[in-house]
């Protein structure tokens, strides 16, 4: 295994460590060398949030994966709102924009892109239709003394749970309502008073984050480099406790040896690499802080339509398909 390229974070500068051999940053990139060095480690997985490491990859490629997940992996979102009636105080365009941002459960892989999003008619393969029909009234059986809006009125708050799915032609046989509607049923869409009314038809289509951020399947997808912390001389007693406080919780541990407390690095991974250590004249020479430049810690948080690992898979596929279609065009 070749050495990984590293940088050292010093008090006033960042330096590149000179490695013996070529690293992923300056070596000639070949598929063979990539396959030899590349590794993935899954650290945390919880359906809609995951953390994993890509090790031995060039930063340009790591960044491509991140960018692809954010702006090229498709998802479904409300794109058009037909406003049949809106007597609430929220303006039509503001209301439509709010509805567009409501995340939907629908799996984008089961739908097609609309061929001409501006003009074509909604079809069963590319569009989901929803309805939001709600009216605010006085609550007849309320306690007369209460001046609380929740007691006095009915439907004074419009939540995303009121969005109802309307199947287009055969969609009823293919999908179930619980797999399509809003992910969260408690998103506040509008506030109303008696006499106010909403009657809307909503059309959701498939598109990518490049078109509009509402189509991005991730809340965040980011990476950071693996931090590395070395304690180069023994730090004990009060100084050890001070050193521990300079880093994120859990990074530095205190080991008891002959009745003395000695600072040791337990887990540098979750350090924020703050430079608090440089505030102390007596401690700044005890620690070397650095980062491993070919070790990327990815964190993907899904909005909730597709699972986080699926988003990464879809991202790779998008990049691959992009290359394949360009190759096809070049050879024709």
């Amino acid at each position: 295994m070749e050495e990984s390229p590293r940088i050292t974070l010093q008090e006033h500068k960042i330096t590149q460590d000179i490695t013996k051999g070529p690293t992923v940053l300056d070596e000639v990139w070949t598929v063979k060398a990539f396959k030899k060095r590349f590794r993935i480690a899954i650290i945390r997985y919880d359906d809609y949030e995951m953390e994993f490491d890509l090790i031995g990859i060039h930063p340009a490629l790591a960044n491509t994966f991140r960018r692809i997940m954010i702006s090229d992996v498709p998802s479904m979102a409300i794109e058009k709102v037909h406003i049949l009636n809106n007597t609430s105080i929220i303006q039509d365009e503001v209301l439509a924009h709010r509805l567009g941002l409501v995340p939907l459960k629908a799996d984008p892989r089961l739908f097609e892109y609309k061929s001409d999003p501006a003009n074509s008619e909604p079809g069963e393969l590319d569009t989901l239709e929803f309805e939001l029909k709600i009216k605010c009234t006085y609550n007849k059986d309320s306690n007369k003394n209460s001046s609380c809006a929740e007691d006095m009125y009915k439907n004074n708050n419009v939540y995303s749970k009121s969005i109802k799915w309307i199947p287009i032609s055969n969609q009823k046989d293919k999908f179930k309502e619980k797999d399509l509607g809003p992910i969260h049923d408690d998103i506040l869409i509008a506030k109303m008073r008696p006499g106010h009314e909403l009657d809307l038809k909503l059309f959701a289509i498939k598109s990518t984050g490049r078109d509009h951020a509402k189509f991005s399947p991730v809340a965040t997808a980011f990476y950071r480099l693996l931090p590395e912390i070395k304690i180069v001389r023994e730090v004990e007693g009060e100084a050890a406790e001070r050193l521990q406080k300079c880093f994120s919780p859990g990074v530095i541990g205190l080991k008891r040896e002959n009745g003395k407390k000695i600072a040791v690095v337990t887990d540098a991974r979750y350090d924020t690499t703050s430079r608090n250590i440089y505030r102390y004249e007596d401690l700044k020479d005890a620690v070397i802080m650095g980062k491993v430049q070919d070790h990327f810690i990815f964190t993907i948080e899904s909005v909730g339509a597709i699972k986080s690992d699926e988003i990464f898979r879809e991202g790779i596929k998008v990049l691959k398909d992009k290359c394949l279609s360009l190759l096809q065009e070049l050879s024709s």
């Binding site: 070596e27 000639v28 990139w29 070949t30 598929v31 990539f34 396959k35 590349f38 590794r39 993935i40 480690a41 899954i42 997985y45 994993f52 890509l54 060039h58 340009a60 490629l61 960044n63 491509t64 994966f65 960018r67 692809i68 702006s71 090229d72 690992d309 990464f312 898979r313 790779i316 596929k317 990049l319 691959k320 992009k322 290359c323 394949l324 279609s325 360009l326 190759l327 065009e329 070049l330 050879s331």
Partner: protein, 115 residues
């Protein structure tokens, strides 16, 4: 002057012949609807091709969805280097996907999660 065709996603900028380089060995490709995402990945892969003398990309204007990709060859045709680069990216994707699937499967069995 670019030979732009709305149906194509790759077109080429016209070149003026300089020195010994033939027209085939130096090219600027114009990618429609592409940007830094593909540009930088492709640059990273093509720059390490030993036959390539220079390769770089630019997005000339942020509000125009275009990416210019220049390749200057030591020997051979620029278009072959571009093809090789795209093929390498496809292989890289395949490998990443298979490693990821493997790791995901072993993580799920280890933590007794449903696949």
């Amino acid at each position: 002057m670019s030979s732009f065709n709305s149906k194509q996603s790759i077109s080429q900028l016209a070149e003026t012949e300089t020195g010994s380089n033939s027209l085939e060995s130096t090219k600027t490709f114009v990618f429609q609807d592409e940007g830094h995402t593909l540009g930088n990945a492709l640059r990273c892969v093509i720059a390490s091709n030993p036959n390539v003398q220079f390769c770089g990309y630019t997005v000339p204007h942020p509000s125009e969805a275009k990416m210019h990709f220049r390749i200057q060859m030591q020997k051979g045709r620029a278009i072959d280097a571009l093809k090789k680069g795209l093929e390498d990216l496809v292989k890289m994707c395949d490998h990443t996907l298979s490693v990821f699937d493997e790791e995901m499967l072993s993580f799920k069995t280890e933590h007794k999660l449903n696949t």
